[in-house]
Every structure is written in structure tokens, then in C-alpha cells.
Symmetry: C2
Subunit: 459 residues, 2 copies
Amino acid sequence: MSSPEPGAADDVRMRGFARRTPVETAWRWIDERVQRLPGEVVSIWQAAGRVLAEEVICSRPLPAFDRAMMDGFAVRAADTQGATALNRLPLKIVGRAWPGRPAGVDLNVGQAIAIMTGAPLPAGADAVLPAERAEVEGETVWALDEVPPGRNVGFRGEDVAEGACVLRSGRILRPQDVALLSAMGRARVAVVRQPRVGLVITGSELLPAGSPPQAFQIADANGPLLAALIQRDGGLPRFPDMRVETAHSQKKDNFLVSSPLAAADDPRDYVLPDDPAAILDALLNTSADLLVVSGGSSVGQEDYVPQLVAQHGELAIHGVAMRPSSPTGMGRIGGRLVFLLPGNPVSCLCAYDFFAGRAIRQLAGLPAAWPYRSVRRKLTRKLVSQLGRVDYARVRMTPEGVEPVAIGGASLLRSVTEADGFVIVPAESEGYPAGADVEVFLYSPFLGDNMAGSQAKSS
Amino acid sequence: MSSPEPGAADDVRMRGFARRTPVETAWRWIDERVQRLPGEVVSIWQAAGRVLAEEVICSRPLPAFDRAMMDGFAVRAADTQGATALNRLPLKIVGRAWPGRPAGVDLNVGQAIAIMTGAPLPAGADAVLPAERAEVEGETVWALDEVPPGRNVGFRGEDVAEGACVLRSGRILRPQDVALLSAMGRARVAVVRQPRVGLVITGSELLPAGSPPQAFQIADANGPLLAALIQRDGGLPRFPDMRVETAHSQKKDNFLVSSPLAAADDPRDYVLPDDPAAILDALLNTSADLLVVSGGSSVGQEDYVPQLVAQHGELAIHGVAMRPSSPTGMGRIGGRLVFLLPGNPVSCLCAYDFFAGRAIRQLAGLPAAWPYRSVRRKLTRKLVSQLGRVDYARVRMTPEGVEPVAIGGASLLRSVTEADGFVIVPAESEGYPAGADVEVFLYSPFLGDNMAGSQAKSS
């Protein structure tokens, strides 16, 4: 509008935050309210990286039968006693055994059965004479060595005994865990359900991601940012389905239910205007496990979200003693946790990682802590911070150590794309001098000396 | 069979490996033959974690216009000169500006425009007076402070200047990179195509994964193992489509082309028997970028794969000086690299990580090095290794340091599920004494002191 309306000037007298909650208090609030979601049964082909939601007990011994561990001859160890290259002992070859195809005959005194690695050991045999210690002449094999009982035999149950608990609930399944499940004959396994995260992106000035910015509108960055972060943390992001909302306004679940976002087409028209009714509808009418709202989180006059959450739910925390991201809020609405993240993309990233991500990771059964690898490095320049607030200081790795990224302003995305990671300065610290040893959380799992070191070694 | 056939005994006189190639030689062979795949264009919603295949240049300044960085009043800085709480200076409010909704009027001497954070700065204004340093009376705002030109203004192009290269080709895209692409108005981006990896699982004794083991048959563990590893390394595993093979034997591409395996249903009947014709067909008739064969890789008589590769392609390396996994091979067939991995699941995992994974990661544009985080730890027990071969020693983290996993035998999956990681003992070493400081590669990104440290700190 081009001229002031009645009360317009009054609107911009900002209410400041009455007080800012310490970061640790906010963490405690979250940790007391989230627990991992119940399990769902998935195919072992889709289980790697998921969090196990059952105690896996071995229902049959693995392996299920004694088997040859080398190519050679199944024998009775006693028959080879005293054999040497100079005192070869003859055995009669009476059969052969392949993996999956047993010999079909038992072994008697003075006999041998040709056997391949992995083949079931014939009844009567108790050892395998390696092929390179045997000489074959027609149907006779000459033992050049003696083998003690059990030599080169893999015994039934030696990998996993029947009834043993092989994988504990809560474990993040590795490729080899899935292999073990498969070897035990398991086709499916119970894993923690992935949290569905309702993503409410607000801002009348925003065009949906993928739109070329036009005039004074800007393209949303937080939708793609948060969708990627949520997926990294084991969650399934979903947007309000605006089309459905119009057609079926009574519909309880107005979120896309189809599939994780990554597999879906590009979402369109997902941005909500700064309209309290539309935002409230999105906050209440969803079947998500947790809600993340971007924008409208502060105390400005179009910042409707805190008020909506306070009126229709509980606004437990609003304003956190940190920078950036101080206008962050959290509470409950419609029985779910809701996180109010600032619209500024750098603040949004930081607030997500500090708070929303922490909750999502715990719902998913993952560790609450930072999902970033950390290394210790020397600061090459001093890092100044304000007493009383936690600072999320973006830093860059250098050959000499680590330095604060000079790009000022939490609104500048380049400060997090050009940074290699961040240092957290606690509220009670005024920062660190040059030369101080600090813990650096790295944005990329592929950066830092560990990988560089291994790479050098392996080339 | 129950009795020896002619020549049966002869079969089991094993040819040993003539010589074993050093691990470094095999790595060099791989590294000289792989380069990252060309790019494909994907939605930014699906770009996080992918490897950038273009230089991203900013085609318009970001932000595209000067904007308020605080809620308050857009002013001419000169009009506030000398203002203090005791010397309030009056300005006439002539409009208001919201994000996405400019004031629509220019600012003249003695005027102010109410403005919200992110709103475009009106023409004529050069600073923003913060709301808390202003007092409003009707249509007048009193400045309690002077603001210098540029104060609280975010300038056009201050995040990214037009024409700047913001992201370099080869970068693994982070959530914030995707946010920057979105803010720049990009809907799509070129990323390195994911390598399609043909997975040939052989073994007449194998039942497909998910089958309860029966009699002397065992359930395949390597299919799910390799599928998970390949996906971790950015590849798309696919199995020979056995059903299609029968119906359309002339079909050039007999691999499932539908989708990455994780999104597909459980594969069934994917195991190939130890039948040279079936294996050769799978090796030749596929559109994969790289082939991984499990089983039949050694010098036993049903180990057909090395011979098939040698006859119809090139078997460059067969037998590697390492343990486990010494019966590993690599070469080319049908114009693609092929990796021959032992059927033993632990050897299969190890050989994949040493060789096939190294090739797949490089095709995907990822670092060649281990995809495992490493930490340094003290050995609490000695680690013995044989001179002349590289040892892949599974270890377990303890409060005191790290110890070798006592479970012997490379056939025992529990040796890799109960281990926290591994230590690589070089060929020229006989191992390490207790107390030695060793580099441990961790199977899980969530284990180890970094995460534990942060967790303690953040709770």
C-alpha cells in the first residue's frame, strides 16, 4: 500500500522478546518430549541405514550344517595319522560333495570324498585334507599330511548359535547386518518408522522454489533446504497439498501422503501466504508426526505463527539466546511438536540443526547429537562472540587450521555454502583467541584430514 | 553324485594362484580406468547429496534489490543526523513496505516509510531506523537515534554478485547449496549420473535372500549386502531380470531398468546357478556401467567367472595379496569394468570395499578413499599379520582403545557385525604390538568419540 492505514505505524512498534531461553533449556524441553517412533516391517533389501526396532534372535544355527572350508578331501582324521610326503597314505575316493549337493554317501574307514569349499561334510568325516596336500591316482587319493579332527571344517552354528541375539534393537543397520539377516533366512525386519514431517513454508513475498525471482518477490530457499535436512535425518518431508485443500476442505489429512519427497515430482504452490487462517489450517489438519514452520516466527506484525500456536496449542519457548536463529520457537499443536524457524535461510538452517533436527533424529531412533563429524583445529584468527548467547560461527578450513568466514550477516547463504563447517561458542564464552584449539563440525562427511589422509595412503 | 565320475578326482587338484597382485597395484589399475560419469539434469528437490556436474554461475544478483534488514522505518540517513533521545527528530510517515510489497512511493526529505524486514527499500531511502529507536505519534515518527547511510540495509548482490561462480563442479551438494540454487531461481541442476551396477550373484547352492535355508542350501547374503554397499556409494544396483531373460533371449538389456533397487519390490530368483552360459549371458547382456560378480571367483572347478572374463574380455588381475578376499579378480568385459568378488560374505564385503566400491565411488564423482570415518586408537591386544599381504583386521572399540575381534574365520559374518570397524595392516608389516596407535575405520558414522563427545555436550 502506498499510504499509511490507521494503526499502520503503530504496528511497527515491535514487541521484543521478553526473555530468550538458553539453548540447553530448549534442548532439555525437546529431549523430554520425543521418543523413537514404533516399528514397521520392511524388506531386508530396504533395511540398510534404518534403525532396528526388534531384538534379532537367531532361530536356527548358522551355518546349519558342518561344511568344508577348503577344496580337498573329506576324511576321517584318524586315517591320515602319520602321513607325510615320504609316507603317503592311500584313501579310496567314494564320492564327491559340492556346495548345495552333498555326497549322498557316508564315509567309512580308509575312504575319502572329494569336496569343494562350502559343501556339507559327509557323515563319518571329521576333517578336510587340503587338495594341495593330496595326490590323486585314479580312484585313490594319497594323503601327504596328517590332519587333526576338525581341521578345515566349519561347524554348524559356529557363526551364530541358535537362540543367540545377534542384533540389538536401536542399532543402525549396516550392509553386513542386512547380510546376516539374509543368511539367517529373514526376508523382513522391523525398523523404526520414519517420522513424517509436515513442512509449512510461509511468506507472501515468496515464490515456490524453482521460480525465477520476479520484481520484489524472491524464490523460496527454505523448502528445498528443509526437505534435504529432514531426509538426511531420517524423516519424510511432506508439504500441505494446496490443491487438495481447496477441493476437500473438510479433509483431515491435507498433506501429500504419496511418498517421500525425494521420489515425488517437484512440489508446486507449496508456499503459504502470511494468512493466519491458511497457516492454522496447515498446522491443525495434518497427519504428520512433527511440524516445521519456516517464516513468520518472530515478533513482527505478520509473524502469526507464534500466536496461532499459543492460542491453539502451547508455545513453550519463543526466542532463544543464540545467534543467528534467536527468533526460534517451539511448542505443541494438534498433539504434535511444532518448530517455528526463522525465514532467513541461514537462521533457518541453524535453528533446524539445533532444534527441529534434534527432535526428528530422536523420533527416527538416531542419536540426538549433531549429524556432523567433528575435528579439532587451531583457529588462525580470533573468533569474537557475545556473552550470554550461543554463537553458531561459520568457519573455513585452511592448511594452517580454521578461520571464521568473513561473510557477515545471517541472511547471506554464501556464509554457509563457503564455510566448511561451524564452531559453537557457548553462552558463557566471549569467543576464542587466534591459536585456540576448537571443535569444528564439518558440513560434509567427505572433508577433513581423515579422508584426505586415507586418500593419500590409498593412491 | 554318490560315486566318482571319470576325472572327478582330477578336478580337485587345485590350480593355486600363480602370483598375487599387491593391493596398491590393483588400486592403480582401477584408478587409471575410471572417471566420473557425465551429468544428468535433476530437480533441485532431488539434488542434495548428489555430485555437481556443472559450474554454477549466478545469473542475477542475489538479493536482487536493496532491502530492510530490520523492522523499522526507511529513512534518508541525513534526516536523522543529530537525533538522540533528548533531541528527537520528526519524520512524516508516507507509506509502508512489506516483503514482496514495496511502498509504491519514493521517499523525500523529512519523510519515513514503515518497513518490515526483507521489504524492498523505497527509492530515496538509504538506511533503516530500527523500530525500537523510533516513537510513533499519529502519522509522525520521531527518530531517537541517527543512522549512517547503509545502516540496516541489505544491498542488491551482497550475497552473490551477478556472474560469480558459486558452486564448483564436483562438489557434493549440501542442503544449503540446494537452498542457494533455489534462491537463485534454479529449478534444475546438472549432477553426475549415478552408476548403474549390474549385480551377478552366482552359486548353485544359494537360495535367494529371504528364503529360509533348506537342507544343504543356504540363503544368499551377498545380494542384499552388495545392494546396500552400492547404494551407499552412490550407485544403482540392478539384477539380471531372469524372467525377461527367458521370454526375450535376444533382448540386449536383460537387467531391470525400472528404478534403484531400494524403491523396487524385493527381487526374486536373482541368483544365477554355476552355469557358464547363464553367467556369460548376464556378463555380456547388460547396459550397466560396471559389473560386480559374487561367487565363482577363485580357481576351483566351478569357478567359471575368471575364465569367462579372460575368454570374452580381459582378466587383468586375479588373486590379490591380502586377507581375506585373496581370490578377487578384476578386468573388463563388454566394454565395462567387472569385479570378481569371493562368495564368502566377509571376503565379499572386504573385496567390495577395497576394489569395486573404489571404482563405483569414482564413477559417481565421490572420493576414491574409504567411505568410513577414521579415528586413531591404542591397540589393547597385539594384532598379528602375515608379511607380504595386506590384512583387513576387524576390531572392536573398548573404553581403553581398540582390540582385534576374536571371531576367527573370514566366513563368519559375526566378525563384521560384532566389529566396530577395521584396521588395515600393510603388506610390509607383521602387525602391531599391544599399545600401538592405529588408524581405525569405523563401520558406523554414528560410533566413536566425536559423536559421543557432542552428545554429552548437548544433553
